[in-house]
């Protein structure tokens, strides 16, 4: 009897403290890439902060899905713009991940060095191909492309060396002839193209005629449960940012460029940015079928033994 009373009391205390602990900050993770444009535009135009009201927005910039997933696992990030690869891996390992919305589709291209002699996917045999990081979204796509063309990565007994190089460093790696080709998200593809390098895989031929997610928004499931209003407000701001990008691309490009300047100290040629924009689609919808196929490619690439059922991870 006493024990029962104690238990009830304990439950009560826990519930009340949980209710009182409404988050004071929303910690947001994203990359300085065009495929994360809704984050860049939302930050530049103050859309997120406005929607969150008194709650402070703490935006953190990451260079790869790996470090972002680590921060997510350590509970240092509440909401994140991330590629489907790391998001699916996180879900498969049992992290408290919820897919909140889509952000961008396509927007990844396969660029070859101008003097590499590569003309088609089949010529990638024996070459060194860079991806942003091993196991990331572009790496998984690249392994699928190789598979479709009868090629194999070196680690699986084939001839193609897949090496992780941060997109910002690919230009230097091309100049030094250390890398022959790369599968990169925009705007890096368009920037490499502006230097005379060739796109042999457009955003459409990379996979599924371009109908694949490149960036999604995920939220920590525990955070979402404790702060439903904050998550709804953020989702509304994200939707507004995507609508703004689709309604006034020129304004969005200006916003993206000035945010990139603040983050990376470098501005992108407006023509490059425009081309990169034309290869990326911005949307809030989540394509479960495409995500599920991605999870299967993840298994095909050897990064997981089984594809998780993603439906329970989609936030209703």
């Amino acid at each position: 009897m006493t024990r029962k009373a104690l238990l009830t009391l304990l439950t009560l205390t826990v519930t009340t403290t949980a209710a009182a602990q409404e988050a004071q900050t929303v910690r947001l993770g994203f990359f300085p890439n065009l495929t994360h444009a809704p984050a860049l535009v939302g930050l530049e135009r103050g859309t997120f902060q406005k929607a969150l009201g008194k709650v402070k927005l703490d935006a953190k910039e990451f260079v790869s899905g790996t470090t972002l997933t680590e921060a997510f696992a350590a509970g240092q990030i509440d909401i994140a713009y991330v590629g489907p690869g790391p998001a699916i891996n996180a879900a498969g390992r049992g992290m408290p991940v919820q897919f909140l919305a889509g952000a961008s589709e396509a927007g990844a291209v396969l660029v070859v060095r101008k003097d590499s002699g590569i003309k088609s996917y089949k010529d990638l045999g024996g070459k060194i191909v860079a991806v942003p990081s091993l196991g990331n979204t572009q790496d998984i796509s690249l392994r699928h492309i190789l598979n479709e063309n009868g090629l194999k990565p070196k680690a699986d007994g084939g001839s193609v060396t897949i090496t992780p190089v941060a997109p910002a460093d690919v230009m230097a790696a091309f100049a030094a002839k250390r890398v022959d080709a790369t599968l990169v998200p925009e705007p890096w593809g368009a920037a490499l193209e502006a230097q005379g390098h060739k796109v042999i895989g457009s955003e459409k031929t990379v996979w599924r005629d371009g109908k694949y997610p490149t960036t999604v928004v995920i939220v920590n499931a525990k955070f979402a449960q404790a702060n439903p209003q904050l998550v709804a407000a953020f989702l509304k701001a994200h939707t507004d940012a995507v609508a703004f990008i689709n309604k006034s691309p020129v304004g969005a490009q200006t916003a993206v460029n000035s945010q990139l300047l603040k983050l990376t100290g470098a501005k992108i040629d407006p023509r490059v940015l425009q081309r990169a924009f034309s290869r990326t689609r911005f949307t809030t919808s989540l394509d479960l079928a495409a995500l599920t196929e991605y999870a299967k490619l993840n298994v095909e690439a050897g990064y997981a033994r089984s594809a998780p059922d993603l439906a329970p991870f989609i936030r209703k």
Binding site: T66, A155, T161, G302
Partner: protein
Amino acid sequence: MTAPPLTPDQGLQRVSGPPRWQALASQLLGLLVILGAWWLVTDVLKLYPPYVFPGPKAVWTEISYGLWGTGPQDGKLLSAIGSSLRRVLTGYAIAVLLGTIVGLLMSAWRPLRTTLGGYLTGIQSVPSIAFVPFAILFLGLNERAVLFVVVLEGFIPVALAVSGALLNVPPALRVAGRTLGAGPLGLILRVLLPASVPSILTGLRTAWSFAWRALVGGELLIAGSTSLGELLEVGRNTANVALVLATIIIIGVIGGLFDTLLRAAEGRVRRDYGLEVPQ
């Protein structure tokens, strides 16, 4: 075939040394305690979520799939061990050769010893991983960059050990060698080197552990081909902490096994040279 006769101290050890099985049993017990504590913290008490600290069972799954799994993506640990060992043995061989030559030169020529000797000690204090960015720029994102770091780390202890050992050879031996008619080369090959074998072996053992650590550090940053370092990176990138821990365990086991082998050789040589008096 007749068994080689026992040396006096081998006989002594049999009688008074601690029984070998006792040491083995206590080591086994220690392992069981560690495994038990690990299992208790992760699988039983669930103090950490599995994506932060997986239990021994999950790690064992990765090890077993990685070593003898037969699926299309299995067996990766085995091939990674193969190529990492090939790399480290190549680098180690070069390091030993280079280190011996440099050590010989340093012992023979004082100006080289006072200049290069000091620098080598300085370079040795720089962690191998610090050389990786330079190696990448200098040699490219490839195997040679990894070998460079391995050789650089491995050859210094060998060079220092060889030069130190040669200098510590008692002068009486030199004099005796010369008196008995050894030329400069004969003196080195037949008197000085054999006399310094115990110290050189200690250097070789240090060089091994340096080279092995440098290899994994280099592979971690110069991923791109099958290696233990790449598996660590893949495990990290795919949120597969079990794979990360499995790889760490394999790295430790291989490093430890080689060290044990070298230690046994060293102990053997020290006994044969009468440097170790068994308790």
